[in-house]
Amino acid sequence: MVNLQVRIKDLRLKNPTILASGVMDETADAIKRVIQSGAGAVVTKSIGREPREGYPNPTVVELPHGILNAMGLPNPGVEAYVEEMKELTTVDVPVIGSVFSDSEKGFSFLAKKMELYGADAVELNLSCPHAHGYGFEVGSQPDLVENIVKTVKETVKIPVFAKLSSNVTSIVEIGKAAEEGGADGVVAINSVKALKIDVDLKKPILYNKIGGYSGRGIKPIGVRCVYELAKEISIPIIGAGGVEKGEDAVEYILAGASAVEIGAGVYYRGLTVFKKVCKEITEWMKRNGYNAVDEFKGVALR
């Protein structure tokens, strides 16, 4: 009998598919709909201290092999987001609160709020590729990453995950810094810094010009990052980037991931992507004689 349950530190997931931050997660109702669609856990929109409107449109375009976005971290601010979090206290899957800041103090303040609001874990956004002063501009410095994780760990009891960027010379170095700081796990990768120029308008298509590329086109980059991290760190890794089919998730798990996040896949296959991916993982496991996800985790590393 195939069992899809996975355990990441204190979190028990009924399956290894997790809703990625920034997708269908602005309101409690939307998140509940994703949970009904089969996600094993959900990550909230990335929340900051103050409300942010984000960038004007175009904020998202589809390209032949992926999706390019520069939302600009829109969020209602942590005080207003409590309203959504309150409604999620009754759901039966782990809710991971994503937060972004530009300092250790800011991150720990937000993480504490998320813990108070009932989050089961917190994901530190150290990797947004298009918001000035935040995201990977913070997350590309190993010392800063270590200090941020350490400060947050000293503040909250819930598990702390660091979401990493591939837009660095060595993601392993950043992953090690997060581990050194006491992170309970890392998430790799966030969207990849990218640009699309429209040849009719003769200018960048996104309002913010630079965006983050996600979806099918970045999967090999994500899998490579997970593979490299898995060889060097011992804390759990959550894979992200281009998961839309069961075999994509399997690839990440073979590379050493404990679970995967799905974002762009919601566009490619609809909200039922979670159920579909789980069904396809199950079929693959049956074909390959596995009964539990742990049995093939990291097999490709050997």
Binding site: V23, T27, A30, P58, T59, V60, P74
Partner: protein, 262 residues
């Protein structure tokens, strides 16, 4: 693919002093009630319902209210815009006799639905509301096509003196309709939907929300238990709306914060 198609505006028509229609070449099929994300270069990309459905071209009719619409208002034939769509579900026109209720610029999205109903030989009654006679548009267009058009103005300068939702009450009292279709300010649509659910009338309303991605991913436009206006809507039926706690009560601004509707 969800990428703006850059098109050259080929005609601009002034409907009122603040309302214009822009026509652009687009020969694919579009349903009444569907919308496009319209890219006004360097300013924004905003949702707009189609107001004209011709074989070779389509049109948007809009009022200048913000940065994007003000910029679009200045555009002339030959200028470039981007269009991404058609998006959303559109109206599901059915039944022998249909009542259309539109307030303000809501008539822009209702007009092609009226024309579709008429082309299918359905009996078609239209109630249009505006602040005053000068802000009304498309009345002649719809009359010429053969619709029975009633008009309400807040100041009574033309037609019924009062709200179009009150005019609608009178129209449904004396007649029976198989379907009511509405688009306009949300408080007005809320009243229309309430009247319909009391009377057991089938109703469809087109909702407007802040839309960012337009492809069902970002969650910005979610209403009523996680329904996305951009892909699950923008048209919702009375049954869905009656259970919807947001409808007529609040919207969300660009940050995702609740903004109550007055």
């Amino acid at each position: 693919m969800m990428y703006p198609r850059v098109v050259r505006i080929h005609k601009v028509v002034e409907e009122t002093k603040d309302v214009k229609t822009v026509f652009f070449p687009f020969d694919e099929r579009v349903e009444p009630g569907q919308f496009f994300m319209v890219l006004i270069p360097d300013v924004d990309e905003i949702p707009m319902s189609v107001s004209y459905l011709l074989d070779e071209s389509k049109g948007f009719t809009f009022k200048r209210v913000g940065d994007a619409t003000n910029k679009l208002f200045e555009k002339k034939a030959g200028d470039l815009i981007g269009v991404r769509g058609p998006l959303g579900n559109g109206f599901n026109i059915h039944g022998e006799k249909i009542l259309f209720v539109a307030g303000g610029t809501g008539v822009a999205s209702v007009a092609p639905a009226v024309e579709k109903a008429l082309s299918q030989n359905r009996e078609t009654v239209v109630a249009l509301g505006a602040k005053n006679g000068e802000e009304l548009f498309f009345v002649e267009r719809l009359k010429e096509r053969g619709a029975e058009v009633h008009v309400a103005t807040d100041d009574g300068s033309i037609g019924y003196h009062g709200l179009v939702s009150d005019l609608m009450l009178e129209l449904v009292e004396g007649d029976s309709f198989d379907l009511v279709v509405t688009c306009g300010p949300e408080q007005m649509m809320k009243k229309v939907v309430e009247v319909c659910s009391k009377k057991g009338l089938d109703v469809q309303a087109s909702l407007e929300r802040h839309i960012k991605c337009g492809m069902g991913v970002c969650g910005q436009c979610c209403v009523c238990g996680g329904l996305r206006v951009c892909v699950d809507g923008p048209v919702f039926d009375g049954e869905t709306l009656s259970k919807c706690r947001d409808f007529g009560l609040f919207k969300r601004d660009a940050s995702g914060k609740k903004v109550y509707i007055h």
